[in-house]
């Protein structure tokens, strides 16, 4: 087994991982920073973010307003000290990206242009046309090439964290190109592995978004927090789930049911605003949880249309005009033409909600530190506490920058005073993993990764969807338990060394099964409705602050299943209030003070 030594190991080469690596490299030019990714960094799913990144920018905006929007958007489950830190540092991070070359869209005078986004009181979303994540990722990747102390390990798949007496000691990874195991010792490890949207069947996520980092930490006893909160993005393409950005609505797009009616006015988001004159926090600019729930209600009432067997509503952009679409939403036009054969300038786009984002994740403090000393987590894989029960669109791109920097700096500060663990301390753990990997291979196997994964993702869709109830969750849980037993018998039948995707998919499925279990059990335990977690059971359909104004913590038991406990929420300045949008939201503390 190859053995390497580094100071800081960053796992994941998306926005958060790259930002952390750069921050660490800038802190000290003597630190060796390893950047591991299971793909080339520019393939990471940050690339697919479209709409933009939020920061208080305009004169009439304020940090307090961004704070209030985020906290009420989270249905009061955000950590308010974290939100305060975030809104205060977001602007400078977006400027930093600008100074590294990000091609932000501009106003005629050359200053930064901002656009409207859902649940935000004021325009504060920076954007680079409708490919913001792509430009952020490539800017960070290209900038990272400036730092000779960052060593990339492209296409390395981490299979385990090395932990010695609750201190991080490194990682164990498979080099995809050779199939060899590589042990990398480090004084700090930053997990930046992204979300777990692929445990659901219909999602906006790339195939790589399989929850690996969450499961890695969870298996070592780190709690996964708020896992029941899974965001359905209201506008994905039917079937594929390909993301159609919220910026379409920020620019003035409207949502219609099968009768051409703007149904959002029936769900606390009205009154109807004129087409092409979007109003912040009204109608189509409500938050994602409310919009996806409204779709479900319409579907129950038979008011959705059918698109090749998928229930859909329509996103109408026609009134924006071809020129505006070409300048602000060129990628959306390209996607609609390629994947549903529709020109948004002449026809409405069929859309439906699709799983988009895991609000929960690896529990960290405000410094991105987990309960294992020296193990940090950041970005979608982490729960630093910014999003609570519902994330506002355009907060997560800013999050990766703000907290990516924090994680990189914190890790750098730690390694200055640490030494590497001795190889002997991790030898047994590495040996154990090597034996386990060898045991996975067999000449034949009746079951397949594909079969188990399909049943997993359909069960999650069925049981842990936009609305949940006890019976559905219990069914989902028993399916998961049965699948876990099948997984233990599953073998890898491709015994080739180089680029063995069958082995990687096998391991990803194992991670996904663990993460799915935490989602389902957390959802069962939260017997109230809040944000993206909506229960249909009697007595559970409302928010219940007296019992559930608290985070769920899923902790791995010896049998591999999650036990759920609870953690209080940090509230600094905005006490819980009712959450209102549309006309009802005007003037209330809950949404638009």
């Amino acid at each position: 087994m190859q053995q390497l030594q580094q100071d800081i190991i960053v796992v994941g080469g998306g926005g958060a991982g790259l930002r952390a690596a750069i921050a660490a490299a800038e802190t000290s030019p003597t630190l060796q920073v390893a950047l591991l990714s299971k793909v080339y960094p520019m393939r990471s799913h940050t690339v697919a973010a479209e709409g933009g990144a939020a920061a208080v920018t305009l004169e009439q905006d304020s940090l307090a307003a961004h704070f209030q929007d985020t906290v009420s958007g989270s249905d009061w489950l955000a950590e308010q000290d974290v939100v305060e830190y975030f809104v205060k540092h977001a602007y400078q991070e977006l400027v930093q990206l600008e100074r590294w070359g990000c091609p932000w869209s501009r106003k005629a005078d050359g200053s930064i242009q901002v656009r409207r986004f859902g649940g935000m009181k004021t325009e504060r979303t920076w954007f680079a046309a409708d490919k913001t994540g792509f430009h952020i990722l490539h800017t960070l990747f290209q900038t990272s090439l400036k730092y000779p102390t960052i060593t990339r390990f492209d296409e390395y798949f981490v299979i385990d964290l090395l932990v010695v007496e609750q201190q991080i000691a490194g990682v164990l990874a498979i080099c995809f190109s050779t199939g060899e195991l590589v042990q990398i010792l480090g004084k700090a490890v930053i997990l930046a592995t992204g979300g777990a949207g692929r445990v659901f069947h219909y999602n906006t996520n790339g195939g790589i978004v399989t929850g690996d980092g969450m499961a890695l930490a969870y298996r070592h006893g780190v709690a996964l927090r708020d896992m029941e909160f899974v965001q359905y993005h209201p506008t994905g393409l039917p079937g594929s789930g390909i993301l159609i950005t919220e910026a379409c609505r920020g620019e003035g797009g409207i949502l219609l049911n099968k009768d051409g009616y703007r149904y959002l006015q029936d769900y606390g988001l009205g009154p109807e605003t004129p087409a092409g004159q979007p109003k912040n926090k009204y109608m189509e600019l409500g938050p994602r949880d409310k919009l996806s729930q409204a779709f479900w209600q319409q579907q129950q009432r038979g008011l959705t249309a059918d698109y090749h067997g998928h229930a859909v509503v329509y996103l109408d952009l026609r009134h924006l005009g071809e020129a505006h679409l070409a300048s602000r939403l060129p990628f959306i036009c390209e996607l609609a033409k390629s994947y549903v054969n529709i020109d948004p300038a002449t026809a409405p786009i069929p859309i439906r909600p699709a799983v988009h984002y895991t609000m929960g994740g690896i529990l960290t403090d405000i410094n991105c530190q987990t309960s294992i000393s020296g193990l940090f987590a950041v970005g979608e894989c982490a729960s630093v506490g910014l999003h609570g029960a519902n994330r506002l669109g355009s907060n997560s791109l800013s999050e990766l920058l703000v907290f990516g920097k924090v994680a990189g700096e914190q890790a750098a500060a730690r390694v200055q005073k640490m030494s590497l663990a001795p190889v002997s301390a991790v030898a047994a753990q590495c040996q154990h993993q090597q034996t386990y990997i060898s045991s996975l291979f067999a000449d034949s196997c009746d079951d397949t990764v594909h079969a188990i994964r399909t049943e997993l993702t359909l069960a999650m869709e069925q049981g842990c969807g936009i609305y949940r109830d006890n019976a559905g969750l219990q069914t989902c849980l028993s399916t998961l338990q049965a699948l876990k037993i099948r997984y233990q018998q599953l073998k890898v039948t491709d015994n080739s060394k180089a680029y063995n995707s069958a082995l990687l998919q096998h391991l990803e499925l194992g991670f996904g099964l663990d993460v799915a279990d935490t989602i389902c059990r957390s959802a069962l335990a939260r017997t109230e409705s809040r944000g993206a977690h909506q229960r249909l059971d009697e007595g559970m359909t409302q928010r219940n602050d007296s019992d559930f104004l608290k985070h769920s913590l899923a902790i791995c038991q010896p049998d591999g299943t999650a036990a759920i406990s609870w953690q209080s929420v940090t509230i600094t300045s905005l006490p819980p209030a009712e959450r209102h949008y549309g006309a009802k939201g005007s003037g209330s503390a809950g949404s638009s003070v």
Binding site: V39, Y40, M42, R43, S44, H45, V47, A48, Q92, V95, E98, R99, W100, G101, P103, W104, S105, R106, K107, A108, D109, G110, S111, I112, K131, F134, H135, H138, Q142, T143, L145, K146, D154, S177, G206, G207, I208, G239, S240, I242, L243, F331, E334, L335, S338, Y339, V340, N341, V449, H450, V492, T493, D494, S496, A498, Y499, N500, S501, A502, Q505
Partner: protein, 236 residues
């Protein structure tokens, strides 16, 4: 309906060179080549190919379809007759099945110093008008899929040639109003493996799935490089 997809298989442990293997896949109006490969992988989990976003932005799934470089996720079976052939991207070393060694591509990208170079230390954003942005915006849309390298006969002959995407990236920064790094990038572009390696076939721009037009970037690079040369003639 069912279609036949012939895939160039290669396992470095057992094969001396790639060989075609035929598979049947179900295809409707929306089935992409990537969807077809995923179907094949269900039949044979040992099939190797890269993919992730399936929406033509991550740049992972470049392959040759009937000999033309394409993104698997943005190429549809409906546009082909009942049979098609998929092989690994040309001009790169095949590692396994449809997976190629992308390292030369990444080395070339890094060689052109693809980041803003300037010495101003302000903490405020630069001003950049929409017209200034438009000068380089198209070249900033490259997704690093590598199709243009498979289309480029020069890169096929000489792997040291910087190639379309790297030269485009250099131009992207050279044309950025915030950048002052052109002199640092020009030696690489002026070198024998720089812009003058290009014989202007233009196939790179034809195959680009994002309409980046690398051929235009290379040509602009030649103009800049010629300018450098003329200036150097008048210097003592």
């Amino acid at each position: 309906m069912s279609k036949t997809i012939n895939i160039a298989r290669y396992n470095p442990q057992t094969d001396s060179r790639p060989q075609l293997q035929a598979f049947q896949v179900e295809s409707d109006n929306s089935t992409s080549v990537l969807d077809a490969l995923l179907q094949v992988q269900q039949q044979d989990p040992s099939l190797g190919f890269r993919w992730s976003c399936r929406m033509a932005i991550c740049g992972s799934c470049g392959v040759m379809v009937n000999g033309i470089p394409k993104l698997g996720c943005k190429t549809f079976l409906r546009d082909y007759p009942d049979e098609l052939t998929v092989s690994a991207l040309a001009h790169f070393n095949v590692e396994k099945d449809l997976i190629v060694d992308m390292q030369p591509f990444l080395t070339h990208l890094a060689a052109v110093k693809p980041y803003l170079i300037n010495d101003d230390q302000s903490s405020q954003p630069h001003r950049q008008t929409p017209a200034q942005l438009a000068k380089y915006q198209q070249f900033a849309n490259c997704i690093n899929c590598g199709l243009c390298y498979s289309a480029c006969p020069q890169f096929g002959l000489n792997p040291e040639f910087l190639g379309p995407a790297a030269i485009t990236l250099a131009q992207r920064y050279n044309l950025d109003s915030r950048d002052a790094g052109k002199t640092a990038r020009m030696p690489e572009l002026n070198s024998k493996n720089g812009v003058w390696g290009c014989t202007f076939v233009g196939f790179c721009s034809e195959v680009c799935p994002k309409k980046v037009d690398p051929a235009a970037a290379v040509n602009q690079g030649k103009v800049a490089s010629a300018g450098d040369f003329i200036i150097s003639m008048f210097k003592p």
